[in-house]
């Protein structure tokens, strides 16, 4: 396997910015510019586990959970769906079937209770459907496995992971999630000044796996 260090040596520092993401895909780069390139690639990345239809419905759901609004971009822009799609092909594979059944049940519930597919509803109607799903009251009629509340809390948990977790996993694109909560960023050394009251340290924006300090997950 070619290490990032070798690539940098071979390509020269100036050229490496463009070359690294293009040539190695999974390699993580260090500047904001390089992240933008990688994130564009991620947006276009083919789905790994969800069907196109499922991904579109899930996108509409997470767009209501953490919406893009006056307070900035939301879960869709952060790539939460990409995070979930990848995780369902890996560490969360045990939840794949719950997504298949849950998404289908949610769509059935939307049509039964509101007379329209979820994606064609107004935001207000979408929210009212999600409130029913969260409360568990969508459970019976739509044929959720167990309570619809269980499905809701699973999607919420994964959406939060995909919005606020390390960008290495495909979400938190452009550090949207970390900017939203005001996280000053991953540092490997923190000074006394960085822990003072009333003064946050300057924001740094890097993944845990930028550079070569750590074995990748």
């Amino acid at each position: 396997m070619i290490s990032r260090r070798d690539l940098l040596k071979a390509a020269g520092a100036a050229a490496a910015g463009a070359a690294v993401p293009a040539r190695t895909g999974a390699e993580v780069s260090t500047t904001a510019e390089r992240h933008d390139l990688r994130h564009e690639a991620a947006t276009r990345a083919p789905l790994e586990s969800l069907t196109a239809e499922e991904a579109e419905l899930l996108t509409a759901i997470v767009a209501r959970l953490i919406p893009a609004d006056a307070n900035g971009p939301g879960a869709v822009e952060a790539g939460a769906v990409t995070y979930i799609d990848r995780a369902l092909a890996g560490p969360l594979v045990a939840s794949r079937e719950s997504y298949r059944r849950g998404l289908a049940a949610l769509e059935r519930y939307a049509i039964q209770s509101r007379g329209a597919p979820f994606r064609s509803m107004t935001a207000v109607d979408q929210d009212s459907v999600l409130i029913d799903v969260e409360a568990g009251s969508a459970t019976q009629s739509a044929g959720f496995d167990g309570s619809s509340a269980t499905f809701f809390s699973m999607v919420r948990a994964h959406t939060w992971q995909g919005t606020f977790g390390d960008p290495y996993y495909g979400g938190n694109r452009g550090y949207i999630g970390w900017d939203l909560v005001g996280y000053p960023g991953v540092r490997t050394a923190v000074t006394p000044d960085d822990q003072r009251l009333g003064q946050l340290p300057p924001r740094v924006r890097r993944s845990a796996y930028d550079g070569d300090s750590f074995n990748k997950a």
Binding site: I66, Q195, G198, L200
Partner: protein
């Protein structure tokens, strides 16, 4: 095909907080020691500052043994069991000292004598109904030299409050007398912990920086702490956390007398015709090995210590090894460490960095440090606040009834308040009771077909009343510091926990205890047990340092009495 290996002097089962300590004094004494560890070795390169890996996906342990053996739990025999998805502890050389919080407290002298001291001060009737608590067979004074040894050999940072009776108000004046100070000053304070300390003083309380098995400066050629915020269920990327993987285990290996065997899945302890332990059986990649030994130290976690004893049946021990008095699994308790209080402040706290051990403690309401004459419980709690937060955790903060849990209104709330929340850690005296115990689950098995542990246990009135009392104090503390809202969490259940006690309790009599005052079985003279499973009371603080002091003492006893015990 079973392979029988060369006889070792001592086999240690499990190389975590306890076994990893015992290896050093044994190897330094010239004994040939084999350590059997289910997990693998992990290094600082495995410890990325990654919340998803550490806190969401339950750690990069390469071997998932414990997670396949999660105990079942029921509060009482009339209730069906439930089972958590993952185990609170991890497998690896160093065990859970790799990713623990590293708070390294000595127990209070009262914790060793709860039965007699309660009787003396308040009368015997104040011992809660149904408790099986006994005084420990040793007092604080007898363990003090071993506390001191572990603090100095592994490296504990802290501020002494009582050196040979001389009190220092900047340390914990309620602690038992110690022979000398800590080897390192405490971890530094933060703006937030300083604020909380000032608030505690305004209430007339005595705040202090708690002790941590973490380097506050370079120690034994290892780095000081970098305070970067990922060692709460994460390992240290600069080896500043003094778990056994970077302290006693490598030193024991350097003697040339200590062999570490990784990926060794121990299944049973064999006995000979004299009723003495003769070997430990383990499986690696489907091959069974028999490791003969002159003496065995069982040093897995509480659940696995009890399970291995119960599974190791023989003609002489038909109900499990060292269980002819029916005491294996009895006197179990899991520490009342939930029931937290969460506070919302009207200003940013800047607690994005730091670690759970970087905090401020109040011990005024712990143990028997205050008069219980007017209270309806015994014991107390340690109040602890600290600087530690990561983004996913922050985004999952409670909204204090001020916003829904998703949508635009939630987003506005989190944008303003993600750095304005703090969660306290309140550890409280927990007692053993008749009816709280561990046994083998009759239905649930691990992948090898062996039953997992079943926990039958629940908190009683003493723990619930104490929880209310401590939450009152914590709320008062937060409000004195400016908090505008608080949430009190429930005490929870006695299900699988990181702090568990009993099951192989230490005591003078075989009728109510499994091991003697030295940690050796009352029934099997060359079998020692290490870990929280020998402790009969919890105290109001993390157990690891006490477990390690006891482990060192048991190993020391074995060395000094080798001929009597092992031959």
């Amino acid at each position: 095909m079973t392979q029988t290996l060369k006889t070792a002097d001592v086999v240690i089962v499990g190389l975590g907080a306890a076994g990893g300590i015992a290896a050093l004094p044994l190897a330094e004494a010239g004994l040939d020691v084999v350590g059997l560890e289910a997990g693998t070795r992990l290094t600082r390169r495995d410890f990325a500052p990654d919340e998803i890996r550490n806190n969401v996906r339950n750690w990069p342990q390469a071997v998932q043994k414990a997670n396949h053996e999660v105990p079942t739990h029921r509060p009482n025999p009339d209730t069906p069991t439930t089972r958590a998805a993952s185990h609170p502890m991890m497998n690896g050389v160093g065990g859970t000292t790799l990713h623990y919080w590293a708070q390294s407290w000595r127990l209070n002298p009262w914790d060793f004598r709860v039965a007699s001291e309660t009787t003396r001060r308040y009368g015997r009737s104040r011992l809660p109904a149904g408790t099986t608590v006994e005084d420990w067979p040793l007092g604080y004074d007898e363990l003090e030299p071993y506390y001191d040894t572990v603090e100095w050999e592994t490296g504990v940072a802290g501020r002494a409050g009582n050196v040979r009776g001389t009190l220092d108000p900047l340390g914990n004046v309620f602690e038992g007398p110690r022979q000398r100070d800590y080897p390192m000053p405490p971890l530094r304070g933060t703006g937030f912990t300083d604020l909380m300390a000032a608030a505690a003083r305004s209430l007339g309380w005595k705040p202090f920086a708690g002790p941590a098995q973490i380097n506050s400066r370079t120690f034994q050629d290892r780095s000081p702490c970098m305070y970067h915020g990922f060692c709460n269920r994460g390992g240290c990327h600069v080896d500043a956390k003094n778990g056994t993987a970077v302290t006693t285990i490598p030193r024991a290996e350097k003697t040339g007398r200590f062999t570490v065997v990784t990926r060794a899945h121990v299944t049973a302890i064999d006995v000979d015709q004299r009723g003495r332990v003769s070997a430990v059986r383990y499986v690696t990649d489907g091959t069974e090995f028999v490791q003969p030994a002159q003496a065995v130290l069982l040093a897995a976690y509480t659940y696995e210590n009890v399970r291995l004893l119960l599974l190791s049946k023989s003609r002489g021990f038909p109900n499990g090894l060292s269980n002819n008095h029916g005491q294996v699994g009895r006197h179990y308790l899991s520490h009342a460490q939930e029931g937290r209080v969460t506070a919302l402040f009207p200003f940013d706290l800047n607690t994005w960095y730091g670690l759970p051990a970087q905090g401020t403690a109040v011990d005024d309401f712990a143990d028997d440090n205050f008069d219980h004459g007017g209270h309806d419980f015994i014991g107390g709690g340690n109040l602890w606040v600290y600087s530690d937060r990561r983004p996913i955790g922050a985004a999952n903060m409670p909204t204090f009834g001020r916003a829904p849990s998703w949508g635009s209104a939630w987003k506005a709330f989190i944008r303003e308040n993600a750095d304005r929340v703090n969660v306290s850690y309140l550890q409280k005296t927990t007692l053993p009771y008749e009816g709280n115990y561990l046994d083998l689950d009759p239905h649930v098995k691990d992948p090898l077909g062996f039953p997992v542990i079943r926990i039958t246990a629940d908190y009683r009135d003493n723990e619930r009343r104490l929880n209310d009392f401590i939450q009152d104090r914590m709320e008062r503390w937060y409000r004195a510091a400016g908090a505008v809202a608080v949430i009190r969490s429930p005490l929870g259940t006695m299900g699988p926990s990181t702090h568990t006690y009993g099951g192989t309790r230490m005591g003078e009599t075989a009728e109510t205890n499994v091991v003697n005052r030295w940690g050796f079985s009352h029934e099997v003279p060359n079998l020692g047990v290490l870990g929280g499973s020998v402790m009969g009371t919890s105290g109001a603080r993390n157990p690891t340092l006490t477990i390690q002091a006891l482990a060192w003492r048991t190993a020391d006893h074995l060395v000094k009495n080798w001929k009597t015990i092992a031959e």
